[in-house]
Symmetry: C2
Subunit: 497 residues, 2 copies
């Protein structure tokens, strides 16, 4: 078989894998949006089977041989990059026994169900045995891939290739110091919460209009309610957003929607023409988060954004008392609290640092599941000065661990770091950025991201893609400078030298 | 391998097939309830792939050999029945080339999309080429299974085994004559429509309460809106209803919900313990319809049913003007119209007879797709005295052909015939039936169906299951006697001798 034919065969196989992933994503979406509770075990079996079918294809000896034959023997750089990445993925995947993959899928489904029940009862004990199972399975996974590596590093390489745990410790430590300075300087600010009651239907209708205006294509997407907001791709033509709205917190839900819209815009901008090569995918989780956090924070919490939104808000909720300034100030309060999703963008990173530290402790066997809740509450007290009122508000708040997803949280703060760098560079290149946002003219901003990030898919790793766009920059400094800029002006603070 | 081991292997394989069917059903449900329009082609690819994976398993030489080895060599009658049915299914399936199965799945998805567009534009021409493709594929399918058989008979054997087209022609002819007598006797009755405006949300909330009271388990099910109501099983623990409500027609939507609830009660009552044997499935489509039509008509259009429902209606729509009698009379008008789903239970069967005759003509090459709309309108004028205002109201009204589903419609009227026989026997065995319905005490009725029908799954063919319950009866006479009984009393008519 010629190399060209071999490559066609590989692509055909990978397209099938993508279709199976899409079916799996459909089941996962349904599970979190609409599935009846009594179907949880059945759904676990269905997802486990699809996982196994995907795994069989991704670990077939035939695929391995084809990739080996192709590596170094293809004509163009794009195909060579694709083959290299596919070989890397193949090598990781082939080391995982099929039964481990299936056990993880099954544990993911039943664990999610247990997490829902635990959260409703606000009782960590209901979920703890499932989390233990997830942790054991994750360690087993890491050991299967690289028995000598740091287990969390091994897992993280699957999400954020090129990011080392040591670099992360350093960056997060500098960031924590910088953020603490800002939070301390802000002190006990006056209460800037917006208050009011905002009916669900109106919020959802408004969210849809916002997402559409930002550039989200509803012809190949939709928006639903879910316990924990997420974006999921069932394929390039079916990228779905979910959100959660709060009757008493207009901005909490809105921020979530803008965040998920940012993810979805990335997915909808990926290079469809590369379907089947693997290069049509996102470059890394951190880069994915940079897209959601850029829209959520740099744009979605800016004063010009609320200036644009005000008429839409007025027509949706006639007579509401919010002004552009009260919205802007409420969206940018610095107010440490127990909830990550509802956190302001300054303290948000401390929520992440807590989780990453706890994951490190769990994977380095310095912490047990039995002690996790106490360790969680202890760190919240130390870093954020708050103690969750109960488990639902504390250790049970996130969906990630419910399905056994570890080594993921760092990507949120990586995303904030990358987004800060993108924002700094975009502002240099587009001096009228604020004026455009105030007009709701988001197309050129999306166009810039499409051109610099989205259309490239996985042609570079996430870290290299950022460097290709922004050059050599200090992202921690970019983020701190941006936060001091916005919040310093609002709170009347000066950054210490 | 021992026979017991072989049987375990077969069951394990069949359980996987069931899980894949469940994933497919999830995609199909999503497609009709929530999928974004731009995802239609992608969804077609996903469903085609799952179809192929199912087909590969159901036609594997290994399965064929295992079934051959087992047939006649198993210990118990249940397993022997399972093996026989599985061999029969295998023989039918193995004759279908994989590419034909995939082409049908793909045509089903794109055809559904085209049908939606055609119906919106009320233009049969948009859908006609897809219907032609469906017809060609259906003929190809029938010829692959049995090149010498009547193509519609061959297809019908897959839905209603044991029902011959000749028997159907005879029964339908007698039924048509009998129904025409009743319709003629009823003449131009006064307008008994209910009128009024019934907001969607209230109707849906009420429908959920009705379904739950009838015995539908929402822990393993849910109810959504869809263009055309349907029930779909994603597995024994996940049986979903969809419905369609009309702001100006309370009873149209309600009848649909009770109908789908009847289907779902059957699915929820099937023998889960037989998962993987094939005997855990419904016995035939006609028997399935007997369950939906029994609840929809015998129970759901009865005076005691409305007596029970009245307080629920009052609390849902305070101040509405309907009385038990006006509800009962509106639900039992005889009023020929163009729409099958909204038809009364007398003329309903004429809608079916039109469709079955047209399918016979199409499959016997006495009619072309180009002439279908005219043939449709002509028959509606002759049998029902009405002409559809446009294509949407006429030939495009049903979802069935949109996905290439032929040889299905007869099962509705078979269901009415079986239901009439069940009803006659149940009334003998449960003299206080009406009193129970009036109290909302549906559990003993469901219990009777569970005991006599549901729990047996596919242990007998549908026709034999009915006979086992009711003995030798004339179902056409049962149906006519029931209809004359209810409608004769309401309209003050006497049946001619």
């Amino acid at each position: 078989m010629s190399n060209a034919d071999t490559w066609e065969t590989v692509k055909s196989e990978l397209r099938e894998v993508s279709l199976l992933y899409g079916a799996q994503a459909s089941l996962a979406w349904d599970q979190q949006c609409y599935m009846p509770p009594g179907a949880a075990a059945l759904r676990g079996e269905q997802m486990a089977l699809l996982s196994r079918l995907v795994h069989e294809r991704l670990t077939s000896a035939k695929l391995g041989r084809a990739l080996e034959d192709l590596d170094g023997h293809v004509d163009d750089a794009t195909t060579q990059r694709a083959v290299e990445l596919l070989r890397k993925d193949y090598d990781r995947t082939v080391k995982l026994p099929a039964d481990l993959v299936e056990r993880r899928a099954r544990a993911g489904a039943t664990g999610f169900d247990a997490w829902i029940r635990a959260k409703e009862a606000s009782d960590f004990a209901i979920f703890a045995p499932h989390l233990q199972e997830h942790l054991d399975l994750a360690k087993e996974t890491a050991a299967a891939i690289d028995p000598d590596g740091h287990p969390l590093q091994v897992l993280m390489d699957g999400f954020d290739p090129g990011v080392s745990i040591e670099a992360l410790r350093t960056a997060f430590s500098r960031l924590q110091t910088g953020l603490s300075e800002l939070i301390e300087a802000a002190g006990d600010a006056e209460d800037r919460t917006l208050g009011g009651t905002w009916p669900t239907d109106g919020q959802l209708a408004m969210h849809r209009k916002v997402a559409e205006r930002l550039g989200y294509d509803f012809d190949t997407g939709r928006m639903d309610l879910a316990e924990h907001p997420f974006t999921i791709s069932l394929g390039h033509q079916d990228v779905r957003i979910t959100t959660h709205v709060y009757d008493d917190d207009l901005l909490g839900g809105l921020g979530g929607t803008v965040h998920e819209t940012g993810h979805a815009l990335y997915e909808q901008g990926l290079p469809r023409a590369l379907f089947g090569t693997g290069l049509d995918q996102a470059a890394s989780f951190g880069l994915h988060e940079s897209q959601s956090r850029f829209w959520e924070n740099a744009i979605g919490r800016s004063r010009p954004f609320f200036a644009w939104m005000k008429p839409l808000l007025d027509s949706t909720f006639p007579g509401h008392p919010a002004t552009v300034d009260s919205l802007y100030r409420a969206a940018n309060r610095i107010q440490p609290g127990p909830n990550r999703v509802k956190a302001d963008e300054v303290t948000y990173n401390l929520h992440i640092i807590v989780r990453v530290e706890l994951e490190l402790a769990l994977f380095e066997d310095r912490l047990t599941i039995a002690d996790l809740r106490d360790a969680w509450n202890d760190r919240y007290q130390r870093y954020l000065g708050v103690t969750p009122a109960d488990d639902a508000e504390g250790v049970l708040q996130d969906v990630h661990w419910s399905g056994g997803s570890f080594a993921y949280f760092q990507s949120y703060t990586l995303g904030n770091l990358y987004a800060a760098a993108f924002h700094a560079v975009l502002r240099e290149q587009m001096p009228d950025l604020d004026a455009r946002v105030a007009k709701g003219d988001f197309a050129p901003i999306l166009g810039w991201l499409r051109e610099n990030v989205h259309q490239h898919g996985r042609s570079l790793d996430g870290t290299d893609r950022v460097k290709a766009v922004v050059g050599q920059r200090d992202y921690v400094e970019d983020l701190l400078a941006y936060l001091w800029g916005r919040h310093g002006a609002l709170y009347g603070l000066t950054r210490p030298r």
